[in-house]
Symmetry: D2
């Protein structure tokens, strides 16, 4: 079976990572590539690492250009997917890497993004409880944000099992590609190298409601999330440090067993052996999440540290994994658990 | 007045930073420089950035070599200061950048470092309530750890004023120089560049009891501290993200006013204007801490983000500041609030 | 056909990269992994990015452990391969990533490395004129050094066609992994981040005779090589800037045509379209060399800039490519031209 | 004596570095700060490292705003200085960090920058032969480019003494701040981190004619310069690797003695002891150039490697040094030879 795939937003970081993975996917034929301001350019000028596609000309991002494919990936700025997706055929599998269809509650959308809510789609985080059954055969998939992916995978086992109080603290250190190819002064190399900074502090980052949505669904009760993203001098990777108070009577062995059981059969989420802690370097370019969990007996807090590549498992890899499930392909096709290190 | 100063451990990062600052200190004459394994070498081979001292030969670290100075800085590995300090004259100002004399409670020392407790000295964090009076005229000073400096400055105003519950979460992202010039595989450039990692998770880092000691003293009640250090790909700088639950009835304006009042007259701690968040790049090489505070109204948590240079305000700058106070010099002599950016 | 492969030196950077590539190689089964000081450890503790091999125990590097494989890769420090290789079966394909068997002239070996010359093996740089025929069916292959690979590919077309005077200048900027996992102070993250340095200046680097050997063979006359390696703050990648004086009567068009013709059919060497210049980021993790060539009409010098990943095309990728040729497999099996960017 | 100083272009990197140095200059009072698009903003929002000036409001860059100062530094994009400077009083010392007044030959200006040549000013590289006498009392000074500063200091002793053939090769690896705060995709942190690239290859960089001008003047005959700039993942610093063929009969000892003699009395240029090679980290934030020279006896080439901080000695520090000379202040006032390392 060969699936014909289009990518909208091929000149950006998410689009580039999708193409990197799709080039290695045995069942995919890469069709039309589109862009906004870069339409008309050769891909080789903008994504020189995608050598086999260097001579491809970027088309305009229009429904007509995207028609005639089995799968269309949308790697567009937030707010640009909904209208376009509505014009794509109902038989086409549309996978949105943007935020437009992630939030279930229209009030959340309006508070965090503003404007009309486009509705929510099956959520492309297969490791969440029950997620695979909604993804199988789906024709519309919303890919999670990069922070919600790693934070949810780090915390869902604990909150789902009721091991911790429903009030979590997440500090997630990210590489700069999460911000996209935006020409902002604070993203210049001179600014980010040699410096670490926080942003969206105090519940101001748009990924907060998505983390709350995932944890609340898993817990069956409202979970409060204190989320702080931190920008570090590296292109890729997120390391999330997550903690919450142990519920009375829960011990460390139960916590560890819960995590081991939760991810024993997952191909892309790995609980490290005791004593090892994750590094983003070890998952760079891979679809893996590596995590470790411990209990701080002094403070009675569970602490989970989890690493992902924000562009791979956090965006494009998660998207391909969800595509595989939706199409009935083996879930790991085209995806690796091997990082590019050092 | 000219003060004659010796530095033990001049070939390490803390020793090098002390010398960088002392070279710019109007009242200091740099005397003997000592080292361990590097004794006999020229400083220029080990610290090529300290050009005016390039021809200095490193002496052995012995009481004899360190005798005859007004001030002796000890920049030695933990556990190496106590015995040496005991052999230095009672009239000499001895400033220990190591951990040996920081912890007040012998049980803390034994749990976290092991062996016999050397006792505690006046604590060189002048911005703590009451600290300056114990430092004036002191002949022995314990310089705080780099993480406790920034974490305490970030949280003391809130806990001292009773604005928050006595249970705080600190995730602090540090450059690699905090680990010293240790030849460990995980500190190699190939390992740290492009990667972020956590270590000492779950209350396992030796700076934890020192943060607890400072916050508990300020609060007047025990404060629980969940502390996670994270290693980021940069040589210098720490960004600490600190949070705690607001106590009922406290509002955001009170929090802000408390911080502004606490640091209004401090030369080296700066609460940024609202809307600006600290970066470690802006304090690189300076003795400043820049911080911002906000209240997350959804989670009712106070979040403080604070940036320091771990080698300057976090070690050598704090040491020089304390020396100035002890000797009755203007506190800011030889210290700058201007960072080296970009 | 499945080839059973052993890797000696599996805990180092070259060994790790070999395993990363071999895990993706359709015709390879990974057999014994050995190490020196790390023998007995789990690979997962030392190479956490190689998740599928995390539970492998490292064996001692002995002929007995390496026996019984179709292919043995030696990723050992220079000088450690020869004796070991002599004890491996003549039917085994032995591929040496070290320097022991690269230099043809015993006098070169003695001058640059010292001790007894082990002899030279077929040289694993398939793009050199005539190289593939010596590699086909070979049982012993010497993998080139990382600098000689990129420098030779950059300059051979010009010197082979007699376009330039036989006196070239190469300044090659490398990431730190080229120095291996050596615990040296100058390789610590704190030292390399934010700093660039030169080393082995003035013809002192051991890769110099290897570059001379390749260029001299291609030119048919002695070529003088002024080679300066520079260390840059990144884990991987080499960018070589190479230049030489144009011979009288040669024009820019001829130069460009020569390069295009030389690499038109090469799967892993790509001359970029005019106006684009290579970056190491675009070839990170790939087996590609991307290069550009121009003529500086003021100085009448040809300037070639070429980028490779020192661990992939510069070491492990070149080794796998050579293995493929030796075994009669398609040359590109298990190797990608797609970089991991950004 | 207190000198009142204005800085035009205070929101850029060169302007910021000027202010960092001027804040530490004993004889300077900082007057008006101006900007282009950032006029009206607080400096603290744009240059948070300049804490003592955080509350300064940026004025428009006009002759009126800049009037009434003893010294005006122009840190503007190339081509913006000439018209403005013409409207500043003849009694004001105007120091142009841009290119407008560097090139002596109008034909050079037209070829490399285009448009009308504004004429040339005394050239602010005091270490060049005869430069100090033209700077003393000068009212107009052109600060050299960052590449020409380090390249000229590396090569002038050799060409001035006729030790080498008049044909030099320079490959200079630079941090990103040399490109300014320009919002270009290739300067984004995600692009530059982990990657090295060449640009302006083949004699296409505008600093080439300036290097030629300096070397030709020193040599007394035309010197051909093959110059390739390389961008490395760090904010600051340039490491220049420079080489040229030894003239017949010149030996290595003569070369070394020539360099030692040339810089023996220079406060800011240091020839390192034999065996040590410069790193940009050791001069970060300082006004020093550290260099080493050797002779490659195989190729009969002199190789000089020199390191500077492009923003300090390469721009703002050189500007302040020239100001000191022009005003009759001690040349080293406000300038340090101590780097900020690691």
């Amino acid at each position: 079976m060969t699936v014909r795939v289009a990518v909208a937003g091929a000149s950006g970081y998410a689009g580039g990572e999708l193409l990197r993975l799709l080039l290695a996917h045995a069942d995919v034929e890469i069709g039309t590539l589109t862009a906004g301001g870069n339409a008309g350019a050769l891909l080789g000028q903008l994504q020189p690492h995608l050598l086999p596609l260097a001579d491809r000309v970027l088309a305009e991002t229009t429904p007509e250009q995207l028609a005639g494919h089995d799968v269309v990936f949308l790697a567009l700025p937030h707010g640009h997917s909904a209208e376009l997706a509505a014009q794509l055929g109902a038989d086409t599998l549309v996978i949105d890497c943007g935020a437009d269809h992630r939030l279930v509650d229209p009030a959340d959308w309006q508070r965090w993004y503003g404007g009309t809510h486009a509705g929510s789609w099956p959520y492309g985080l297969p490791e969440l409880p029950g997620a695979r059954s909604t993804l199988r055969g789906a024709k519309r998939i919303a890919v999670p944000g990069c922070y919600p992916t790693v934070s949810s995978l780090a915390l869902v086992p604990a909150v789902a099992a009721g091991l911790v109080e429903p009030e979590v603290v997440v500090v997630a250190v990210s590489g700069t590609s999460g911000a996209g190819k935006s020409l902002k002064p604070n993203l210049l190399g001179s600014e980010v190298m040699g410096s670490v900074s926080a942003y969206g502090v105090g519940g101001a980052h748009r990924h907060t409601p998505e983390i709350i949505q995932n944890l609340t669904a898993a817990a069956g009760e409202p979970v409060a999330v204190s989320f702080t993203p931190v920008l570090a001098p590296m292109p890729r990777g997120i390391l999330a440090t997550c903690s919450a108070r142990l519920r009375p009577g829960v011990d460390a062995a139960t916590v560890r067993e819960t995590y081991l059981a939760a991810y024993r059969d997952e191909p892309f989420v790995h609980v490290l052996p005791e004593g090892l802690w994750p590094t983003t370097g070890a998952v760079l370019g891979s679809n893996s999440v590596q995590l470790q969990v411990t209990v701080d007996t002094d403070t009675q807090r569970v602490v989970v540290v989890a690493a992902e590549d924000n562009l791979t498992k956090g965006t494009a890899g998660g998207a391909v994994q969800s595509m595989n499930i939706a199409l009935g392909l083996p879930e790991t096709t085209g995806l690796s658990t091997v990082g590019v290190a050092p």
